[in-house]
Each structure stands twice: as C-alpha cells, then as structure tokens.
Symmetry: C2
DNA sequence: AATGAAAGTGATAATCATTCCTATTTTATT
DNA sequence: AATAAAATAGGAATGATTATCACTTTCATT
C-alpha cells in the first residue's frame, strides 16, 4: 500500500463523514501537498475493489466515499446534500425471497430534509 | 405540450422499457428527423417535473427514463445493464416508522445477473 | 389576416466529474 | 548500486448533461 493510499484511507477513517474526491484531496494535501486528484480517484477505485471503502453514487452531485463498510444505508438531505448513516433497511435475503431471484446487492438512498435545513424555513 | 414533447412521451409509453436519452432520440427521429438531443434532455427534465416520466439514475452509465410512473422499483443486471420493473420493495411510511423522520422519497436499485447473462457463463 | 409576446427549438459551445496518458519517481529485488 | 515493476503527478481527454442564443412556432388579441 503506497503512502498516498494510506493517507487517503486515513482521511476516510478519521471521522464518520462522506466526502467527495475533491474534499478528500484537500484534507490529504495537508499531509501530502503534492498529491494529485487522479491519484485520489485511482486509489479510491482500488480501495473500493478491496472492500475497504464504499462509494456512494450521487444523482446530481459528485460521488461520495465512505470509509466505514459495515452494512448500512444512507439518508440524504435533498437541500444541503449531507449524508447520514442509518442501519440497513434491506437485506439481500429478504430481497431474494421477495423477488425469487439471486441478488448481487442493492443500493438504497432515502431522501429527507435534515433538521438544520427544515429550521431554515 | 409541443409536438416534440409529445413524440418523446410517445416513445416512452410505446413499450415497457428504460431507454437512455440517446435511444429516445433515435426512436423519436423516425417520426421527427430534425429533433435535437438537447431538446430530448430539456423535455425529459420537464416531463419528470410534471411526474409524467421518471428518471432512473445509473451509477456508471447514462441515465435511463421510464414512461410508467406507478410506484415500482428496479432490478438492474450488472452485466448487460438491462433494467426490469418490480413491485415496490419499500414504502415511505415504513421508512418513516423505521427512521423516525419525515421522508421525501427513496431510490432503490437491486442488482442481479439476468437469466440471459447467467446462461452465457 | 396581422401583431406581438411568450414559449420552444436546433445547433453548438460550455461544464465538470471522472478517466486516461506519459514521463518521472518510488519501491522492491537481486 | 543496478534493474525491473509499480505507482505517481500533472495535464489532456472523455462523455453525459446543461447552457446559450438566434431563430421559429404558437396563440390570444386586435
């Protein structure tokens, strides 16, 4: 594991948040100023394949990345875009039973308006 | 509703499928050869806002569009990308109960390997 | 029928997240 | 230290989607 990869994973594990590749770059550069965005993307992809990191594909915004990979789903604020973790809302087994097929996985995003954004109206 | 918009909606309602903007353009041009891709995107966006069409955001491929808007979810083949309709697998109410929050909606995609693609191995 | 305002269009340029390319640097190995 | 292999930095390329804008179409009103 290269030093860059370690730093990137370190950023993602330092706190429970869901940054974009850009935000990861910014933070990682505090420790490694020459780090390139391409390197961030390349290592994020590798880390996802190694199941150390999870990508959260966003519909109308840059994808987010998650350094915590125990099963959980995401609650997304439609106003500010912030992402919250929630316990798993589905299970592969339940889906397989309902659909009567083998299932490879699922991607569930629940949309809501976070308390902060609600307060602003 | 402009003639272009009608044609685009017509394409989407003609059969139960989930084409990309490009595929919609191709089919619509059979009836309206001068139609522009920008016009397709513009009208798809409008139709989505009017709740006549539903966008299916894809993670690593162009988005799909769905002319049938009764509640249902999608089963996506990880190999060929084909999208199948399935009955709703969640309900806003159940999610609200589980999460103890108001919920605006959800987006669930279940991944599997379709029979055709399974057969090829 | 002529008008004028509003809405919609086609063509093309711009955007922007992500990927690709390549010369260079780092790392591991002998 | 020499060499090979792997990874990087930096920048250019890609490709889906949006924005722009001059021009047309629509349509209510005269």
């Amino acid at each position: 594991m290269s030093r860059q990869k370690e730093v990137i994973l370190g950023v993602l594990r330092a706190q429970r948040f869901h940054p974009t590749a850009d935000e990861i770059l910014l933070r990682a550069r505090q420790r490694m100023p020459a780090l390139a965005l391409g390197t961030v993307y390349r290592n994020l992809k590798a880390l996802c394949e190694e199941k150390k990191v999870r990508r959260i594909p966003m519909e109308d915004a840059p994808d987010r990345y998650d350094g915590f990979v125990e099963p959980h789903d995401h609650l997304v604020c439609t106003v500010c875009g912030k992402v919250y973790d929630v316990p798993p809302l589905q299970s592969k087994e339940a889906l397989e039973a309902k659909l009567a097929t083998r299932v490879d996985g699922y991607e569930l995003k629940v949309y809501f308006t976070c308390p902060k954004c609600q307060a602003k109206n």
